[in-house]
Subunit: 459 residues, 2 copies
Amino acid sequence: METIPTEHNVTKCLAQFLVDSHWESILPPVRHEARRAILNNIGCALGSCRDDVTGRALGVLDTFSGPREATVIGRSERLDVLSAAYINAVSSNLLDFDDTHLRTVIHPTAPVAPALLAMAERRRVTGAQVLHAFILGVEVECRIGNSISPWHYSHGFHITSTCGVFGSAAATAKLLGLDTRRTAWALGNAATQASGLVESLPAMSKSINIGSAARNGMIAAFLAERDFEAAESAIEGRFGFTHVMGEKPNLAEITKRLGETWELMQNAYKPYPTGVVLHPVIDACLELRSRYSIAPGRIERIEVRGHPLLRERADRPGPNIGREAKLSVHHCCAVAFIHGAAGVRQFTDACVNEPAVLALRGKVALEEDATVPVESAYVSVRMQSGEVYTEHVLHMRGSVARPMSDADLEAKFRDNAEIGASQVEPDRLIDAIWACERSDDVGQLMRMTGSPALVSRAG
Amino acid sequence: METIPTEHNVTKCLAQFLVDSHWESILPPVRHEARRAILNNIGCALGSCRDDVTGRALGVLDTFSGPREATVIGRSERLDVLSAAYINAVSSNLLDFDDTHLRTVIHPTAPVAPALLAMAERRRVTGAQVLHAFILGVEVECRIGNSISPWHYSHGFHITSTCGVFGSAAATAKLLGLDTRRTAWALGNAATQASGLVESLPAMSKSINIGSAARNGMIAAFLAERDFEAAESAIEGRFGFTHVMGEKPNLAEITKRLGETWELMQNAYKPYPTGVVLHPVIDACLELRSRYSIAPGRIERIEVRGHPLLRERADRPGPNIGREAKLSVHHCCAVAFIHGAAGVRQFTDACVNEPAVLALRGKVALEEDATVPVESAYVSVRMQSGEVYTEHVLHMRGSVARPMSDADLEAKFRDNAEIGASQVEPDRLIDAIWACERSDDVGQLMRMTGSPALVSRAG
């Protein structure tokens, strides 16, 4: 049997890092990024809390729920902490409106934050504990993802779930205060549960991957807490995660400069719930509309020029349903000019069939230009009057070069809270999330995300 | 993107097969084999019901258990049906004493039967329904295993769990009476949960794989029942299970002659809880002992000749603990002559250190012979008196060529029931299992496997 060097003792090294890390060593910008990620996560969950997919999964887990200690975000039902983490992970990722670690394309927060937030309703923990465990969980999942990217995802493993389970396990282990040996077991117990196929992505079953990553990582840590032993080399061993589910993994990616750099600082947030290639186009249209007060009814033609991927992924002149419209440059331009927005509401089936949208999308022309980067685009609008307005977006909003501001994230949160019809008070919740570093009981914050007034519509 | 032919529509084809299959078309020998498999499964679970591993996993799941509708085999605790299936799957496989589909090395019953037996305590189902769903579940998991063997397991995926989740999903879907569309979703929801690393096999975390396969297959079916849609080509698609977790899968293996042949008929049962390479050696020793009334104290030397794998896997003259002794030809010969048995008791740490065992194992000599098949062995015993007794085992007990008889399985069951200290009455239970085809409520049988008299020792 071939011997693969395990010189890094990766599993043990990660465990040691998790145990040794102290909150005091985490610098303020990293702490703030954690709050931003959690704000965005809870907001996305609010936006999808009444979605059918969330409801169906909730219907099953509700049937088998244990002690109902934890809040389902935006809903009145309560579930055991494992099941609440599952559902909150599902709803926070459902619309692909959550955050992205661009190097791996992991959505880092969805499998990690819901686990910690549910835990906070089972045992009293401070905001600093939750933020710290969250930062570490994201670090572990993204570093493991780095070691097997890009092969792992392009081969067909849904990287957000296969790596997310490590993030949840690492974060839960930290919150439970496990020692190094047990933390290593938590990681090993997570490794052997890593699952998720890319084939599932267009289907509801994608959400199983996300929910399972959150839940199973917690199970991994709870088992480790009871001395349920895992393989010591579960990540780096000959038959461990990186070799079995990766090709030529770069193990040094996992351990180099641990504690000095933070993957969370590479996190990107989406301003629009669409394919990321459309984001600079939408930016340009919204900018034109507002700068020149363009009346959509007087537009003769909209010309879009962008990276070849834009045509490849989004040249879809006649989408029939909201989901297709998320990958239609024609629809995105039309709603940006007509609604002055490209939020969740603009991608409903109803919006796709609005007469004004139908009319304007027919006037969109797409041209590809290999010299334009993916995060850039040119949009020209020719009015019936003959005037032409042009906008060039160099860096799309939400990119690392042009991040969404805190105010942008707040606006997105409010929008999501309204869309989800959760009846939570967004401003109180926003304040609580920004202030959570000083909270001595995160469970209070979580209870504010529930919707006690609503009648249960589970299932 | 490379296009892989999906000419078989494997997922849909399996779903159609599951829905169309009628109990009347299942011939008596297949029905009987299902009873044998379930007898063996429940017996193995009884044998390990008080093991530490079972107890630790139970401790975690007990904390989060929902409605306690289902029996934990051999114990007084009750759990929700998902958690009970998990624990019963764990205990039935824990000692590697369960059954084996030799072509794939899948232990077919552990992920499937516990799911069905737990379900039987939630909704009233007949023995015929359970046996039928079990046969179909095993068929699906083993055929999917055939399509990706031997690469899948040798690459590092724990095939019992990665394929077992399909078995549990298929069987649960059948028991729930799902239609073809929903059955296909159940299979797809299972595919995206397939997990389990070979690295875990020597550790407790192996048991997570088995328990998760049973539980997650049930979740897959329950979600499908609520119209939770999966990818239609979850098994055969470009990014589906067989391509992502297999190499050059042979999809025809999954669908050819469906309903005409039954993988369950290739199932083998273990008479001894040791590595399978040791089985013919143990057979020979037990045969010699009983035929010639050999007094172990008068043995001068034991010579064993077998396939090279025997030396490679089991040349371990000085095992220190029970787990090592399971792969020691020296220990196995010693206990066979001294105890006249090679059961669970012979592989405890205590037995490994018995003075008589220590003395005799030092007299064992091992010789490899490439002309001897794996399922054969030669054993010669030279007595101090100078006499030499020799035995040649052509086919080991438990092989397909020389299957364990029903009486053998009953004896194994009784032995397991005693070892596990579960205080269940084995004979009543054996009778109930043999008669289960005529039962109109399998839940009754399951309640007989519990141990109401015992005080809980969970965790």
